[in-house]
Symmetry: D2
């Protein structure tokens, strides 16, 4: 079976598992006062070419909700796309962590917000008085929930519109590694240099066991971040076990190697699919996700061959490749589809 | 150095690390639909001799706050001891997760609430009208924050008082294993058979990397528990990595062996301390925690020998033994103290 | 000047002002233990032909948010129309009072939700797992935000769909009096007999100074309602001053007389407008609200004549009549428009 | 019957009722855009000799909870006395409005916090790390819940301690008028000149029907205050009805006349009580509240004569005088007690 239901069905990269095993002996100070966590601050500040406040976290949902809670007051609102994970797929965590802020879903193209749409909403809300929760944050997902990318200029343009109305900018980077690997930009270019204040930095989907981080580029957010993480139950007493994962993840470019490989697998698979009748790709395959429409013959074929995919209903499916997939697996799927 | 600052400075038990390593290859369904998590439901139901709803969680703070949020409405109150971890040491997580419930600290003896004190408060609150948030939950910590134990009858008596006033009962079992090992009772006797509705089941302090669980004995709480855990960002996408820890932890009595050993280490150390001038034990050493008053000569000695302890100020210290400590280490500390 | 910007720009009905003046001397028990408030329970139970729990409240926003908080858990969601006041115009009060529940705006026709749309969403959400906050409440606005009405059967049909999926039903009755007066039904028919669990009963827009009520038809909600109202700062120490308004409001059919008059004024004005070129009514004028498109000549005319209306942008305006408007005023506006 | 159960059992001052009646005709812009509310900004800025942000509110509980929510982040804590109304008697409104901040009750003398006690707690909390919600606000009640007063210097000293640790300062002035009248100071001296950031300004207990205000001395709080009030359901659509009360209340010194009279009544009654065996005053009678211990003979006497008082249990009672009480009533009570 090749299992492409999501990149979180994969296990963990050996380098990261080994880091956890290495960290499992000896004693260490608890609640983040350990060496691994200390190292993270330096490693991330180097990676992002900027003084960062890094808070290791345990799930993507908590990471996003914490990040939003740093930027939006309880009486404010967060603008995002209509397919944003924070709005659609996190069970209202954002509303909970922020104390009741509103999430405002806006129209999008292939997962990407467009500056004109954002600007129109912000202009309207600015005239609405206290009846309408005032937008205080723009949240972008990079890569988007449709597996597409904003390029650096697009991020910067959206952030500039947002900042013009006094908003701060959050980036949901659950697949940040895939985005950076695909764009070939620096982490700095895609974030603070483009106007991003706080990044949800994902690692779990890209080879970690369970490790994410809130990365704040504004040191004034440090105190709130430390306390909010603790209050939200995101601070491990044995914090080293998540910090060690992140340490290994960003060391020697592992994160980009893993993500680059996953991206390549998706490109290979999508390339093969393009020539097959009965398959229509729905969006550009910018990273490691393929959204397509497949006819019933083909989807039964995949089922019969035990190829795992996510069924979105109405003939649409999603396939996500991971660090652990191989070129042979991709070719095997293409063969299965061809033989249909 | 022997490091007894807390049991969470220890690493992880090899059996649990191995379970994680084993789980790290292959694919598995995400967000708790995996086999490891499925197995947990059976394993815990057998362990507790009762149909349980088990939700793996990541930190003790989140576990307690989630557990409370199942039992207390946002307009209610939780009665606990004045030294309860939920009140004193979790940065207000309970207030956040419950949507603003109040925590009511009550007087205690060596960490233990007493039925008469509880009853007096509940009777008073019952007459206070809507000005006072109505008590809806009793939260007991077993073992207590002073390292002491309620015996089974004491838990049952407190729970009965609470239930008489319409409250439900939560048990903070961050060191539940140490309690069960010390009391020699069954997990069932200490919980639902004594009137406990929801248990915070801790594993991290006793050899896991990061694994806890909310265990609800009332199946009607299942839906709220599943959704609240997700909304609170406590549901790993690769859930198997926490479930595998819990699986290994409760398999073949590992959890009680680890805790029993830690308890024995504390008993050995405390036994040695009793004969030393300049040390006064503050509470019975029922589990793996020693609270004592030491004079300055002795504490400097410990410092000089690199023995880690937690300084509570005003001459009081706490030492906590873990699964990983050895009898030799305990004897070494006793020798250091004697030579002072 | 005739001021039709909203019905809340009007003053208060003399009968209600007099009731407040009468209540202003002598002493009375505080926080709702007074005679006026006691009388309300009986008066509303008679009015609704059902044992009611009535909680006087101070603003429409608080009334709706309290009502929702009785019905939806913090981890659930509320389905409503895309123009629902609770979603669009209450600054996220619902999110705050519920502790972070999500509001799900659905498509509508002239302000009215349609059963098929509701059913489709509920069916989809039922299969979404814990990633999506589960719908637990349907909120209907009667009369709708477009000034249209559900008839009794339509309310019952929507409520039946909702109940089929396990939801409970809230009705935002900010203009409930206008709806009952227009439909000629009984309050019971439009609410609990049609499946409504909790009603936001408005009086301020219809002649009160500041008086609303949460009316719960399920006595099991009483305790939560009493405490939530207190905790939300909606319980006046001198409660009689709001209860006296509600007493007078429902006595001798005053509420329906006031609303019926306002409805008649809107019908008269809309009738006159229909024959005027340059005006297009956007929705049926079921109650006291007129939504229309007017050309610039006409709207300048209204401005010049100091006729107050609410400018919705893009050529659309809203006019709302109140208990205090007169037929002469309506005719005057028609004349102004005709002379344009 | 003379009813001294509380000052909120009284009706309303004629001047304030008349202001409401006068405001009840004609139309006015809604949600606070009316003339009455506009006038308040000027009136309060003059009264306090400082640019104020004034938000009219409806209940004391909402006023305090809103005020706290301006000053404390959701992850912070509020220090107050152990008998503070915000902690003891507001059903956890503060926890709700702040999104889960903790209230920390400290020891007090006759209701008054003492600088040394505050300083000790703040020093300890400063060293506690993220386990303990960090104190961010000091809340003082003036006059205190024991009917005693801080003088201006005492307020300033406490505020200075708080500010030294980075806290901001809230004053619960439910009986602010009684305090100012008794101290003979200016409102400015007792508030911002002494270091108070936000005042809960009460009027209901002193002759209004239902009118309070949040008064913020820091203009940077204006935006949050406006939105939070709306979101909390504290903004009347017909706002003029509360603003008109406050306008009348502060015009021509009415507020101080009413409060001064109530204070005088309490002083007269307490003076008479001092010579009666079987009565022991518990605290100085600084304002309009008398706390005393009475023997059973006397309390039965009061009951028999239909004199209303609040029974605090264990032989303690509270009597509160209001603007509407007369010297004859006080003398009558003294006679009743003497004849016992």
């Amino acid at each position: 079976m090749v299992d492409l239901r999501s990149d979180n069905v994969a296990g963990a990269a050996p380098q990261i598992v080994e880091a956890v095993v290495r960290a499992s002996t000896g004693t260490a100070r608890s609640y983040g006062a350990d060496e691994w966590t200390a190292r993270l601050q330096t490693a991330f500040s180097e990676l992002f070419e900027h003084d960062c406040v890094v808070q290791p976290t345990l799930t993507g949902t908590a990471t996003n909700a914490l990040a939003l809670s740093l930027l939006v007051p309880a009486w404010g609102a967060v603008c995002c796309s209509g397919v944003a994970h924070i709005h659609d797929s996190e069970c209202g965590a954002g509303e909970m962590f922020t104390g009741g802020a509103k999430l405002i879903p806006l129209g999008h193209e292939e997962g990407r917000l467009r500056p004109a749409v954002l600007e129109r909403y912000l202009a309207k809300a600015a005239g609405a008085g206290t009846a309408v929760a005032p937008p205080k944050v723009l949240s972008l997902t990079e890569a988007t929930e449709c597996g597409t990318l904003y390029n650096v200029d697009e991020v910067a343009e959206l952030a500039a519109v947002a900042r013009g109305f006094g908003l701060r900018v959050h980036m949901d980077g659950a697949r940040f590694a895939n985005a950076v690997a695909a764009l070939g930009c620096t982490p700095a270019e895609l974030t603070w240099r483009s106007g991003v204040d706080v990044l949800s930095f994902g690692a779990t989907k890209n080879g970690a066991l369970a490790a994410e981080a809130v990365v704040a580029f504004d040191p004034a957010l440090a105190e709130a971040l430390r306390y909010r993480a603790r209050k939200a139950g995101q601070v491990l007493s044995k914090m080293r076990f998540v910090s060690a994962q992140l340490d290994a993840y960003v060391a020697d470019g592992l994160w980009l190697n893993l993500a680059g490989h996953a991206n390549k697998m998706a490109a290979r698979l999508a390339g093969g699919m393009r020539s097959i009748d009965g398959i229509a790709l729905l969006y550009p395959v910018d990273i490691n996700e393929i959204f397509c429409r497949v006819d019933e013959v083909l989807s039964s074929r995949l089922d019969a061959a035990n190829v795992g995919f996510f069924d979105r209903g109405e003939g649409e499916i999603r396939m996500v490749t991971a660090f652990s997939n191989t070129a042979d697996e991709m070719d095997e799927i293409i063969n299965i589809l061809h033989s249909a």
